[in-house]
Amino acid sequence: MNKLIVSPSPHIHSKTSTSSLMRDVVIAMLPAVLVSVLFYGWAELEVLLVSVVSCVGLEYLITRFMLKRPNTICDWSAAVTGVLLALNVPSTCPWWIIFTGAVIAIGVAKLTFGGLGQNLFNPAITARVFLLISFPTQMTAWSAPKAGLSLSQVISHAWTGTDFGPDAFTGATPLGLAKEGGSVHMDYLNSLFFNIGGSVGEISALALILGFAYLLVRRVIRPHITLSIWATVIIFSGIFWLINPDKFTDPVFNMLTGGMLLGSIFMATDYVTSPMSPKGGIVFGVGIGLLTMIIRYFGSYPEGMSFSILIMNATVPLLNGWFKSKKFGRA
């Protein structure tokens, strides 16, 4: 018998760890990653590689040499930010812009605040917003497959560069077109699988929803935040669309376009920057949904998801104080 260890209860621990949770988030993003690689080809692989290597590398270098703290890359959180950042930029984005994004995400938004758990704003969102404002041209140079192209044509273009004529790939997203007053014809059924222009992580609704299901099944996140965003967007846009269908886009369009799904599933639900209680989560989600729709309908940007998440991130400490879980035996 060894010397006996004496410590307070409990004496066992669940197998859940920060790294297992973060790894699950990466796994949940894999369907979206695979779809984006399939449709955007080598360029997208390069984006992913640059983004993940920059984020993880910066986390290592900064903690090791600047902060002189224990190395935290093994907790997978830098990898999560890396993949998210990659899904948030166009596949045509130059490597140095992505690297700048990584510096903002890991260096500024995360480590200056004290690292994982201490940051007020979601690192990937902060980087996306920074890049969107600083490099608007490069950040909106979408290469969206146009309606009329077959699946195999899109894929063959991505991987072999086959040309299908100058107009095969448009530079504007459906949201951008709608903002400019152009008529948008989307095939919703098709767009569930692919075909939605935008940053690479936004092309397949189904892949993102698959990731959401995985996160729920593995109990990584609660559904409150995501579902309350969706409900708010559907109700808000539903009302406006019913009042004036010519001026306002319909609820399905708003759900399937832009960063709606990517943001509501993977970014608004970030543990660190969302409220602790389910009630707080619902208020947080409603806030994001409302702000997004207000920006989309009345703002000058076509897309408002990132801004609304960032704004609502700032309210989290307040929401945590206002909305607490119900205590046992108290009214």
Partner: protein, 453 residues
């Protein structure tokens, strides 16, 4: 299936010794009987060095209102009365007795006959429970006669027998429910009678099908023995820790929540463990004092044939129990008395069994050593797990900063120390360690503020 409404976790139940029938431990050469066998004031010895005592004879009297009689578990000569280390390593008065063959004290019915008729005199029952030193055997060892005698103005609407045994590894309650079901149910009927014939529910977690069947069968059989056995039911509860927590069990069975700092009787509930019910049967029907109980010796590092459920007597050195079970395996790094969620780590294997002993649980370093604490990732898993609806992440921060007003405001004194928060924390933050310390301080502050009676 019924369960409590807030929080909870699902650890692997690891009931490895569930099928091991109860074996009676032989007697050691010396027993050391602690005067702190119960919650409340330690008992006062009434024997002197050199006295000869019989098995079942009173050797100590209650040291206060919340206290209990202690009886000799063996026949023999008192060799010494003095301080000896308990399992945490703290000194407590023990009576040391050199063991001789059993000679039982007068008035104890040693026969095996099942006595199904329940005495009608309430005071007689309460006296027998008190005089035979019966305490709650679910963990807190609260004197049973106090709980069964609600203060004026409070009535019991439901007696809940706790057979949840929600702690992983422990199987002693499971075994007594299988092997001693009739005695447990008669004990329940006795307590029901004392409490004025209220509804009685025996709550058992779903992971003990044999116990559920044995108890239901015994209940059906005893139902023929008269009206005393009507209004008793077996209720299957969901497997979820801490289902057997007193407040959680009341919530699950009655759908009522005991208020903060309140007592179960405030919502009309009295909760007793199934092992307590067995002790009540022995005390009332057989005039047998509480000197035995059942404990599990288990652990993943023990082979299947070395898992045991033992009937022990109080005062057995734990090292003796371990020896009888084949010794402590080499790879054991921690021995726990009680379950892995709320049990105490044994610092001293020379400590002795007490009324409330429930197990020797062997853990290897790999199973039990805590991992390095990392940053809180604010996942709120601790808040989701807390069965009291508290926010452990917040309490931990407040505790580390000594912010007592905020701690009280956020209900730190409601913490039941079940361990769900620390169990679930992915960042390995020692949440319960800091909260437990702060809870002690805050309760002292609250008590010091209350007007003295």
């Amino acid at each position: 299936m019924k369960t409590f409404r807030i929080g909870g976790v699902h650890p692997n139940d690891s009931k490895i010794s569930r099928n091991c029938a109860i074996e009676v431990l032989p007697l050691p050469q010396t027993v050391y009987i602690s005067m702190a066998q119960h919650l409340g004031a330690p008992a006062k010895p009434v024997v002197a060095v050199g006295d000869r005592v019989k098995t079942g004879q009173v050797i100590a009297e209650p040291g206060g209102f919340i206290s209990a009689f202690v009886h000799s578990s063996v026949t023999g000569t008192v060799k010494s009365i003095g301080p000896r280390k308990d399992l945490a390593g703290n000194n407590m008065t023990h009576v040391e007795i050199l063991v001789e063959p059993d000679e039982w004290a007068e008035g104890i019915d040693l026969s095996d006959t099942l006595v199904t008729e329940i005495p009608s005199d309430r005071q007689f029952i309460l006296d027998r429970i008190k005089n035979n030193g019966v305490v709650g055997l679910g963990g807190a060892t609260f004197p049973a006669h106090v709980k069964l005698n609600p203060p004026p103005g409070k009535t019991a609407e439901c007696l809940i027998l706790n057979g949840a045994e929600c702690e992983p590894y422990l199987t002693s309650d499971n075994r007594i429910m299988i092997e001693q079901s009739s005695r447990i149910i008669i004990g329940a009927a006795i307590m029901k009678q004392v409490l004025g014939g209220c509804r009685t529910v025996i709550g058992i977690e779903e992971n003990k099908p044999e116990a559920i069947k044995a108890m239901s069968d015994a209940l059906a059989e005893l139902g023929k023995c008269g009206a005393a056995y009507s209004g008793i039911e077996v209720m299957v509860l969901k497997k979820k820790y801490p289902q057997g927590g007193e407040k959680q069990l009341i919530d699950a069975v009655m759908g009522r929540q005991v208020k903060s700092m309140g007592l179960p009787i405030d919502v009309g509930a009295v909760v007793q463990n199934v092992a307590t019910s067995l002790a009540v049967y022995d005390a009332v029907q057989k005039n047998m004092p509480l000197i035995t109980n059942t404990m599990t010796v288990t652990g993943n590092c023990l082979p299947a044939d070395r898992q045991h459920n033992y009937l022990f007597r109080i005062g057995f050195p734990l090292s003796f129990v371990a020896e009888q079970a084949g010794g402590v395996p080499q790879e054991v790094s921690k021995i726990i008395s009680g379950g892995p969620m709320m049990g105490k780590a044994v610092a001293n294997l020379d400590a002795c069994t007490v009324k409330g002993s429930s197990s020797l649980l062997y853990m290897t370093a790999e199973q039990t050593v805590r991992k390095q604490e990392t940053n809180c990732i604010r996942c709120a898993k601790c808040a989701d797990a807390c069965p009291m609806g508290l926010e452990p992440f917040l309490l931990n921060k407040l505790a580390r900063n000594g912010m007592y007003d905020a701690l009280e405001e956020n209900g730190v004194h409601d913490c039941i120390e079940c361990g769900c928060c620390l169990y679930t924390c992915p960042a390995n933050i020692p949440l319960l360690d800091t909260i437990r310390l702060a809870k002690g301080d805050v309760i002292k502050i609250i008590r010091s503020r209350a007007p003295k009676k």
